[in-house]
Symmetry: C2
Subunit: 351 residues, 2 copies
């Protein structure tokens, strides 16, 4: 059964509540922008490309109910809605890129009245949705060429159907490889503190009958030391113009371990994840989340109250540790400063 992480149904956004997986497949129907903001904030919907689509849908939720024909009032509400959604999470650039793509509807159509603007915004959001479906399959097909029969692959967090509309970035590579009838297996890092690897990636891969083994994050090195990892695929939340890549905490760990063990390490991400305005990863804001994610589990305390906690949600992997970046245009190789510029269109927005 296909997974529909996010879709527009009956004038609202329906998302899978990923905090309930793998035990329950529940949906949240977002009928207003606040519900969507909270869904992003509390990770009911997560994954950079999915957040991008969620933001576009959030703009619709915040503006489609507008009554009347006062363009100035409508635009005020529109920008307020965009600004509000921009505060939900700081690291994944897809959120900001897709909000910009929505804002461009307004700048591109200075004469459009409220009715037309609503219609154009709706069309833009649907185009963003469909583009995600298309580019994920393109990335998957490009990346699948890297997988040879018998390979033992590794991935971290969830860069799958649940991180996109319905196919995935890093996991899309596995889906395309499976479609191409390749045989391979996958190690999924559980990804503390919120276990997106255990809860989401294992759930997805098992549904697709892909040979999957769950490990704790601290076991990846041991497997590499035993030559049990042939290739690593990770998603991305933001890629700087020099190729430095922010992704889920632990990705940098994997990249350093991969270098030590000479294991190829690939990032899989669409152009909406590139932030060509920044020169390097040092300019990427890293979200720090609350201590309870680390010190509690379903209300049970697992650490003393007195202890301090450091809980960054992401880390930055420097470009020199990345073997290649799989995009919808193909695989970008080093030198990234030159090759990203050549491949990725600078214009923000959709195709």
């Amino acid at each position: 059964m296909a997974i529909a992480t996010i879709k527009w149904v009956n004038g609202g956004a329906r998302i899978i509540d990923q905090t309930k997986l793998p035990n329950q497949l529940q949906y949240i129907d977002c009928r207003d922008v606040k519900t969507m903001w909270q869904a992003i904030k509390r990770l009911s919907v997560r994954g950079a490309p999915a957040i991008g689509v969620a933001a576009a849908f959030g703009v619709l939720l915040g503006t489609q109910q507008f009554k009347g024909h006062d363009r100035a009032k409508f635009l005020k509400l529109f920008h307020k809605t965009c600004d509000y959604l921009a505060t939900s999470r700081p690291t994944a650039v897809n959120l900001f890129n897709m909000l910009n793509a929505m804002r461009m509807v307004v700048t591109e159509n200075p004469q459009a009245d409220v009715t037309l603007l609503k219609k154009l915004l709706f069309q833009r959001a649907m185009a963003i949705f469909k583009e995600d479906q298309a580019v994920c399959r393109q990335m998957g097909d490009h990346g699948a060429k890297l997988i040879k029969n018998g390979m033992q692959c590794m991935t971290v967090c969830n860069a799958g159907a649940l991180a996109t509309v319905d196919y995935g970035t890093a996991l899309g590579v596995f889906y395309s490889a499976k479609k191409a009838k390749k045989t391979f297996s996958v190690y999924s890092l559980e990804t503390r503190p919120l276990l997106q690897g255990a809860r989401l990636t294992c759930w997805e891969l098992c549904r697709q009958k892909i040979d999957t083994t769950l490990i704790c994050d601290n076991m990846a090195a041991s497997l590499m030391g035993k030559d049990k990892v042939d290739i690593i695929f990770a998603g991305a939340d933001r890629i700087a113009s020099n190729g430095d890549t922010a992704n889920k905490i632990g990705t940098y760990m994997l990249a350093v371990l991969a270098k030590h063990h000479q294991v190829p390490f690939y990032i899989v991400a669409p152009r909406s994840t590139f932030d060509l305005k920044i020169k390097s990863g040092r300019q990427i804001p890293i979200e720090e989340r609350q201590r309870e994610e680390v010190t509690q589990f379903t209300g049970i305390t697992t650490a003393p109250k007195a202890v301090k906690v450091y809980n960054p949600a992401f880390d930055v992997t420097p470009a020199n540790l990345i073997s290649g970046i799989v995009t919808e245009y193909g695989i970008i190789r080093p030198p990234y400063i030159k090759n990203i510029k050549t491949v990725i269109p600078t214009k923000v927005g959709i195709h």
Copy 2:
């Protein structure tokens, strides 16, 4: 308040039930060898040196109630008890070394009758207990010389008072540094799947008012990448004669990351952790534990049933990644094959 992880009280072994920490400080009174075997197996008592003492006490529990004066029957029970305790956990060599130290009482006293043997075994177990207290303080003092004011230290799992009788190996270094009035802070890796770092190390260090920050295992690399880690101390479960060291899963990860970031990486362990009979870490058996440790938390399932799980409790860090091994005799430096032989007495047993 001092921590008494294990002690002999009223003819039995009293241990802290570490599965209940940090929320409850509860004790288990072991009155028979089966209770002790289970306590070791289910990690109520854990940590290589503590397991060694627990095994010695376990021998007493299995033999002190013996009635009569039949030496042959007593020795049969004695060896059966030792063999039984040896099946509790496979990796930490202290268990086997301390059982051998107990067996030597018998071989060293071929003429002793049952009454005398019981007395000598009791004395040997108490000597093992006291030696642990002494050597931990010696290791701590040697290791503390490596800590300079302002240093940000890192440790994994629990190599503390709770892993020994009452002081610790890696954490003993911090206690000695604190006693020497040095200022420093500690990052404690939570150590999945059983969170000994979060539950035990943070509890111990906070009780001793040491500046401690809890992180998930996958955050260590990120901190090293930001130059926030100056030195790493880890315990050991078994050290081969070439210096290869088995310790809690994730230690090898830390050692590789430390090398990449040029952070000094030290092992802290007494001679009872050395296994001079084996040439390298390849000969160390690695315990694999049940899948539920990874897929469940307090009964709540966090991964789909269909997924496979790999759950090794330990990994092996090759000697070439270890800056030094802190022992009760001082710090052993490379080349380990030569220097371990020089420093560590080959005779198994206690001083």
